[in-house]
């Protein structure tokens, strides 16, 4: 079942430009120069119920613009968008009841109050029945291990604790759709793991549909079955991580620790991409030569102490895609 449908979405912004100097400031009072930025050019995608989709792209690619359109905060210039059959900006309030949003850099909790009081107020804002609220809250407190935090004022929470509370706050009204904008930014390793495992449980066991924007490729690799990559307002890639890899490069890497640092290894089907002491990195195309065959070749010729096969790190893949689709 399709929950979210986005078709040919386009949105441009006018940004005021100020001329430098005194004269510019004076002129700025009367007339101002504008520059148009095409934040979304032609974006289309769909999300099905229960999917967890990574939405990635360089800064300024249009990620948060898309999320804002989906949340009903922003009206696009053209294109269509439906969330649960509704046009979000036309029915902002109805839409708001069905989505939860977490912005990693901000909190929706009340700064000076204990977490529990923010939860109470959110119950009223979303008009959740007390029994439903109690149940949802109990579950979230357990899943996110918030028991000890509920009576602490928000300003005293660590970033990781606050993020867990914010996740709970966004889900108290039990929305079927959740938008997560950089939920792991700035968190320490254990907190990141906690957030990831919570999001995973959420989709697997509760069937919540999640859109995750992030710069942390570990988030993507740990969580997402599907990745939508955008740059300059256009979708560059939409598919599984594996698809994304093969779209950019099929290359794989063999990292070999030689017994003799001076030993020569060569093969016409592979290229040496790095050599550091006894460690040599060789890259090859698995279509031209299978890994076992290549390994057998090397083993036959030189003494090898250790050896691993790697894919190109997802960061590099993404960086390469960004480069190839540089500024138009």
């Amino acid at each position: 079942m399709t929950l979210v449908r986005v078709e040919n979405l386009a949105k441009s912004f006018r940004v005021a430009e100020r001329c430098p100097g005194m004269w510019g400031a004076v002129r700025g009072l009367v007339a101002r120069g504008y520059r148009t930025i095409q934040a979304l050019d032609d974006v289309s995608f769909e999300l099905s119920a229960g999917e967890l989709v990574g939405y990635i792209g360089p800064n300024g690619a249009g990620k948060s613009t898309t999320v804002k359109v989906l949340a009903g905060i922003l009206v696009p210039d053209s294109g269509r968008c439906e969330v649960l059959g509704r046009v979000p900006w036309r029915e902002r309030r109805a839409n708001a009841r069905d989505v939860g949003v977490v912005f990693g850099q901000r909190t929706q909790l009340w700064w000076d109050l204990p977490v529990a009081e923010s939860f109470d107020l959110l119950r009223e804002i979303y008009a959740v029945a007390p029994a439903d609220h109690r149940r949802a809250r109990g579950e979230l407190v357990e899943m996110l291990d918030l028991g000890g935090l509920l009576n602490v004022p928000v300003r005293q929470l660590s970033l990781g604790q606050r993020m867990r509370c914010d996740l709970a706050a966004a889900l108290l009204h039990q929305p079927p759709i959740l938008y997560l904008d950089e939920p792991t930014i700035g968190l320490d390793a254990p907190s990141k793991l906690a957030v990831r495992s919570f999001v995973r449980t959420l989709t697997r066991e509760r069937g919540v549909t999640v859109i995750l924007t992030t710069h942390d490729m570990d988030d993507i690799e740990a969580l997402c079955q599907r990745v939508i990559l955008i740059a300059h307002g256009r979708v560059l890639s939409n598919g599984s991580l594996k698809d994304l890899r093969t779209q950019v490069s099929r290359e794989r890497r063999l990292v070999i620790d030689l017994a003799d640092p001076m030993a020569e290894i060569t093969d016409p089907r592979a290229t040496i991409t790095a050599r550091e002491g006894a460690r040599v990195t060789v890259s090859f195309d698995p279509d031209r030569v299978a890994a076992p065959e290549l390994i057998a070749q090397f083993c036959a010729r030189v003494a090898i102490r250790d050896l691993t096969i790697e894919s190109v790190p997802i960061e590099e893949i993404v960086a390469q895609l960004y480069r190839e689709n540089g500024a138009p």
């Binding site: 005194m22 400031a25 700025g28 009072l29």
Partner: protein, 263 residues
């Protein structure tokens, strides 16, 4: 001296960026000035007695007050307040300069730049359209400039004290609201000091607040002649020095607390 000049000029350039705000501020001040002038006109219509100040003089006084408003209405320096709130004040202690000197210069810059930016256009507008007269004589004008400079020194010293009181969180909050209100009334910014009752004049003359507004304004219009101006200007300078000493002492005490409590 070099670091102080650097702080002064950095602050100055920062303020110059807010030209639009300065423009809007000037419009606001002129509007307020008009209200106050009209109110005084009405009061003077109501009574035929002879007052210690004529309406013409009150009008001058009001416009000078509007133009120099920032010398009398100020809360604590926003930058220092932020530094204290966030605890970054500890960084200031690591700098190889005298902290009080730094803060004083900051407060001084926060007065000179906006006064120049706002006062000049406002005085021109008030002079051209709304009845502000030129200084009584060139000598009065010169004495007025000297007295205005002294008012800036005094105002910065006073502002530094108010900022420093913020280091005592609770009482500082009160002091930083209360003291500006006191200075606002007693400097002559609401009502020209000569219009206060006779019995209050003696006290008002001794208190430091008149040096922020009343003294330069009356010198400007010749209410205090250029020959008699030396003593009032000295009054301003002495009080400025007193506030500097008091501020230094206060800051030294506060810093001992910060260091002892570990910031």
């Amino acid at each position: 001296m070099r670091p102080y000049i650097a702080v002064l000029s950095a602050n100055f350039r920062m303020m110059l960026q807010y030209r639009a705000a300065a423009f809007a501020g000037a419009v606001t001040q002129v509007f307020w000035g008009l209200i106050r002038v009209m109110v005084f006109e009405a009061f003077y219509r109501s009574s035929s007695l002879v007052h210690p100040m004529g309406l013409d003089e009150v009008v001058d006084y009001v416009w000078l007050g509007q133009a120099m408003l920032l010398l009398t209405t100020f809360g604590p320096d926003p930058h220092i307040r932020e530094m204290i709130r966030s605890g970054n004040v500890a960084y200031e202690l690591t700098r190889p300069t005298d902290l009080y000197g730094f803060w004083y210069v900051r407060c001084l810059a926060a007065r000179i730049a906006p006064v120049i930016l706002r006062a000049v256009p406002q005085l021109l507008i008030a002079g051209l359209f709304f009845g502000l007269r030129a200084p009584a004589s060139p000598a009065s004008g010169a004495a007025w400039i000297a007295s205005t400079l002294a008012a800036m020194l005094l105002s910065a010293a006073f502002g530094a004290v108010i900022s420093i009181t913020l280091l005592w969180t609770i009482s500082g909050e009160g002091a930083s609201r209360f003291l500006p209100a006191v200075s606002w009334l007693l400097s002559g910014n609401i009502i020209p000091l000569p219009l206060f009752p006779e019995w209050a004049q003696g006290v008002l003359n001794v208190l430091p607040f008149r040096g922020l507004a009343d003294t330069p304004f009356r010198i400007y219009m010749g209410h205090i002649g250029p020959g008699e101006a030396l003593l009032p200007i000295l009054h301003q300078v002495v009080w400025a020095a007193a506030f500097v000493l008091f501020g230094r002492w206060l800051l030294a005490r506060a810093m001992r607390r910060v260091v002892v409590q570990g910031g």
